[in-house]
Every structure is written in structure tokens, then in C-alpha cells.
Symmetry: C2
Subunit: 347 residues, 2 copies
């Protein structure tokens, strides 16, 4: 039997980047040949359709021994994230050629060989655009749902909710979920255009630009005259510290991400000095990783699909064409240029 | 009817102490006359028997507008805390002369007039020494119980528990509660004598002196080769930061107090730079005030009385005779000299 071979361009980690935004010194592209017949049992070959560009990927490239947050990619390892692919070869009888699947370790590559154990089939004609499985119905949607509906439960209508990095994928979904619960929602984001956008398109009651409102404490005094009941933190550092001066009794802080710290070693990060307020206001602050909530995926998906089909939640996905644009897209997460979810369309 | 008058020495707040340990410039004693017949309805006069010297009292004397942690005493207000008193005059038919009561706002004074709304009668011959109602069955006991059994639940046997200020009243009770749950318990405290004591008398598996073990991170590496599952924090600052480098997945941090910060304004406190670990390890960190758990007092008291009567928990109360010694006793909480609970015996 002759072996069928496909050529695939793939991104791999050439060097660790302990600090700063990764560059072409750290992430490189190479071309490999995959022999389709040579894959192990319980594996499939995917033709990559879409891969999600996630902020946490950056943390997997530091090479630091912190060991506490991010499992590190190995040097020369292909970089992967959640993605959607089409099965073109299968050594698992549950999957056949042509199946469309969600895979948590889809390579930033044209083709990839993956274990069939963590795949989930999707119906391409179910009325949901495929990239949405990486957005509202994917990791950022789940992160928003866990942060608002699981960690911060029970949510009372009228609660005052603050969300940082509010124009990020998680931010725009979380804000809308909190609005659907009857909350008042205010967000912070990095440009005036994004302030306008999240108010006009994504239902935020109010928002401010954290670059121009340099005194976060004063800003929060204005935007939260009645204090903050729920804070979904995507930023950490000085913003978290400012929030802790405005929390109400029994407030909940859902720690989703701390983008202010990702490009720094921990000893260089801004310390939070007012944690005593967690005691005075009896605050619950809880960090989470969506991977621990996959057992709740059914509940999440049912609720989100219903919101999506009823038009109660607006999604926002930026499709970047071409796997070669991964590095630039990753960098854009750490500037103020990004709105919503970024997905690379490979095929 | 002739008015009966008693003379009473009482401590009052003469000046706020924003930083440092309060001195005789801040807390002064004065003599007042109380006309017993002149008290309002639903009030009683107590002859003070015992009053509890609590670390949180210090926070009520800063006069700072933080507003988030401690309700401030007013200037010239009598300083009060949990205490045990004997009713000598009552304008509430539920209380008669001679009743022994626990009162959450017992003055550091020989006599005091208090509302009868928050009193609780105790049976003086129930086999429990009266000061124990301010120790194991009082605020420190409840603080230990909430921190270990409520915030950190469910506790698995074999969990690795770390307790700072381990020779404090809360620390010695909390350590023993954790041992009763089958945990391995390690504490930090301020002298070698206290290290020895908490291991030999209060059942700690191990302990270290945080003055001589200056590198907390290295110490925790040695004492917790398998990481920390539960941390009861009484200290905050650098110790909390070090702990967050050693937490296991789904660890719980019960924030009971942050004595490292009480004598400093918040902007001067040590910032915690590694909160990102709360996300990576999906830690729940929760602050609490015992006042919010009085609805659980029945469960708490039943469990603790049973432990006490069965000899499963050893208590440690230092009785200081004479109300005039309050200031010095308060100061001793902030040095390394103190072990267990300090109670002022007034009568």
C-alpha cells in the first residue's frame, strides 16, 4: 500500500520568550510531510479549518519554572490551541473522513495528527457558523459563562458588575450574560472606539478607557457610586487593586486572566497591596481555568445556543485568513487593537 | 427613689493611631459615674468579669477613611470587645440581676451599660470556665472553625494545611481542628519557644520560626514537599505571597486576618505580586468576619463543647488581671511575645 503524504506548514516554538511579546525569534514556521497511513490507532489526521488565538498561549511560551499557571510548550513543539478541523484520515471507528470536529489541541498548521480521545463532532449545517465554536460556544464563551454564572453565583438582578478587558472575546460575552441576569454592567477597555463599541453593540451600560482614565480609583468612584458586587478580572495588577477599594460586602471576584502580568516575570509584576479589603468586605476571589469545567459543557452549550439563536447575545469574531498570520495575530492580543475573538482560518 | 451610682474606670480612644502600635497617647483611662436607675429600656448594666483582647481592635483605631475593613471607634468612645459580665441592673425582663452573660460590646471598664439585644446567657456551672467563652467558644474559636470547616470545606483527610500566626488563639484552635479532620498541619510563629510549644502542646506536625527562616519560599519548599491544600492566613503580605507559590490545584485560602498590615496605611503594605497563581491553580481565596457567621453559632458551639469536654482540643488562655493592663496587653499582640488568647479579668 502506497503511503499518502501531505505537506503542511506549521508553527513551532523555536525559543522561549520569558518576557515581552513573542517575536519571529521565538515562533517560526516550517514545512513538514505527514504520512497519513502512519498515524497511531485512536488518532486522526485533521485538515485544519479554524484555530483560536488565545491570550493564554503566550504564557505557555515563557520557559519559566513557575510551574503554577501554564503548562509550557516544549522547544520545537508545534503550537496548538482549540480549533475546528475536517477529518481526512481516521484510525478510530467513531470518526470518518469528512467529519467536522472540535479539537482542543489543533495545531497552528495546515494539517495535524491528533488523538481522537478529546474530539467532539459538530454538525456543520446546524445554523451555527463554525468559528462560533471557538467563540461564543468555545473557550471564551465558556470562560465568560464560568466567570459570571458559576463563580459569581447566585447573581442578584441589579448587581453592579465590572469587567476589565471588556472588548475582549470573554469581555463582550460576559457583559452580555450579566445583562441577561439583570445586572448593571460597566467595562474598561483600551481605546475610545472600543468604549463606544461595547456600549453600542454589546449592551454595556457604561465603559471607560483605562489609558485616559489614569486614576482607576477615581474612575471607579464615578462609575460605581454604589460599589462593585461582581468583578470579572482579565487584567490583574493596578486595576484589581483599584477594584478592591470599591467592593461591596460579599462581592465576588472571578479571576479569568491577568493580561497585565503575562509578559513579565512574577517578581516584576505590580503587587496588590489592599488584600485586607477581602476580609473587611468578606470577598470571595476565585481563579479558574475553563478546562476544569468541561463537565459543565452541556449546560453551557445549551444556554449559549439558545441565546445565540434567539439573538440575545451578539458575537464578534475576527477571521484572519492564512496560517502564516498567527504570530502577528497573537501579538495583537497584547496591544489595544483587538476586539472580540480572533480566529485563524487556515483552509 | 435614690439613684444608685457606681464608679467605673474605662478605656477610651483619645486620639487615632493611623500607624504603629497604639500608645498611651491614643488610649487613656478615665473614671466615670454610672447612675444605675437611669439606663434606657432594653438595656442592662454589667459588672465586667472578662473582656477579650483582639487583634482587630487595633484596626478600629486608625481613623482612616479606608472604610472597608474596620468600623472605627469614635474619639472619646469607650473601647469595647467581646466579654463576659454579671447583670447588676436590668431593664429587660429576660435578664435578672446575677445573670452571667456574653456581650459582644463589653467595655474595657469595670462596669458598662449595654443593649440587651445581643446578650447570651451562660450557665456558670456548666463545667466550662467563663474565659473559655471568649476563647475556644468565643470569637477566636469561631474564627478558627469558620476558616477551617466552613471556608475550606470539604476537607479531605491527608490535606496539607498551613497556618500562620500559629501560636495565636485562632492558630492553636485551627491547627487542632485541622488535625481532627486528619490533615497534616504546619504552622509559622515568631519564636523558637512557640515553635516547640505548638508542636508539643497543640498537635502541630511541624512548625517554623518566621524570624529565623527569612526565606519563606525556601521554608515552604521544605515543609510542604507536596504543596499546600489549605492556608489559614493571619498575616498577609510576604507570607501570603510565598504561600501562593506553593498552592496545589483547587487549594483554599481562608483570609482570617493580615496582622502584617494592621499597623500600616494600605499603600505602604507589601503588595502580593503572584496572584496569577490563583488562576493557574484555581484557588479560592476568601475573606471572612466572624460576625457574619453568628447564625452558625449553634453548630459551632455544639462541636467545640464536645471537643473540649472529650479533651480533643487543648485551649490556652492568658488571664491578665486588672482593667488597667489593657493597653499593654493590646500591644503584646503585635510583638512575638503572645501565645493563645489574652483575656483581661476585670473583677
Amino acid at each position: 500500500m502506497s503511503a499518502t503524504v501531505v505537506e503542511s506548514r506549521e508553527w513551532y516554538l523555536a525559543a522561549y520568550a520569558p518576557e515581552g511579546i513573542p517575536t519571529s525569534d521565538h515562533l517560526k514556521i516550517r514545512c513538514v510531510s505527514l504520512a497519513l497511513d502512519a498515524i497511531p490507532e485512536q488518532h486522526v489526521v485533521l485538515e485544519t479549518l479554524f484555530v483560536s488565538v488565545e491570550p493564554y498561549l503566550r504564557g505557555r511560551m515563557t520557559g519559566l519554572e513557575e510551574g503554577l499557571y501554564f503548562a509550557q510548550f516544549n522547544l520545537n513543539e508545534v503550537v496548538s490551541a482549540f480549533g475546528v478541523g475536517r477529518v481526512i484520515m481516521s484510525k478510530d471507528s467513531d470518526y470518518g473522513e469528512g467529519d467536522i470536529v472540535i479539537c482542543p489541541s489543533t495545531s497552528f498548521a495546515e494539517y495535524c495528527v491528533v488523538s481522537s480521545q478529546n474530539l467532539r463532532k459538530v454538525e456543520p449545517n446546524a445554523g451555527i457558523p463554525l468559528p462560533e465554536y471557538l467563540g461564543l460556544l468555545g473557550i471564551p464563551g465558556l470562560a465568560a459563562w464560568v466567570g459570571i454564572e458559576v463563580i459569581a453565583e447566585p447573581i442578584k438582578a441589579g448587581s453592579n458588575v465590572f469587567i476589565s478587558a471588556a472588548a475582549s472575546a470573554v469581555g463582550i460575552y460576559a457583559g452580555q450574560l450579566a445583562k441577561l441576569k439583570g445586572c448593571r454592567v460597566v467595562g474598561s477597555t483600551g481605546t475610545d472606539d472600543k468604549v463606544k463599541l461595547i456600549k453600542e453593540e454589546f449592551g454595556y451600560d457604561d465603559a471607560f478607557n483605562y489609558h485616559t482614565e489614569k486614576d482607576y480609583d477615581a474612575a471607579l468612584t464615578r462609575y460605581f457610586p454604589n460599589g462593585i458586587d461582581i468583578y470579572l478580572d482579565n487584567v490583574g495588577g493596578k486595576m484589581l487593586e483599584a477594584v478592591l477599594n470599591h467592593v461591596n460586602k460579599h462581592a465576588k471576584v472571578s479571576l479569568c486572566g491577568m493580561i497585565s502580568g503575562y509578559n513579565k516575570v512574577w517578581t516584576e509584576r505590580e503587587g496588590v497591596r489592599n488584600l485586607l479589603n477581602l476580609i473587611g468586605k468578606q470577598v470571595k476571589m476565585q481563579g479558574y481555568m475553563v478546562g476544569s469545567y468541561f463537565d459543565r459543557f452541556g449546560d453551557f452549550e445549551k444556554e449559549m445556543e439558545s441565546h445565540l439563536k434567539e439573538g440575545k447575545i451578539v458575537s464578534k469574531i475576527k477571521i484572519v485568513h492564512g496560517v502564516e498570520n498567527f504570530l502577528e495575530s497573537l501579538g495583537s492580543l497584547f496591544t489595544s487593537s483587538n476586539i472580540g475573538k480572533i480566529v485563524i482560518q487556515v483552509k
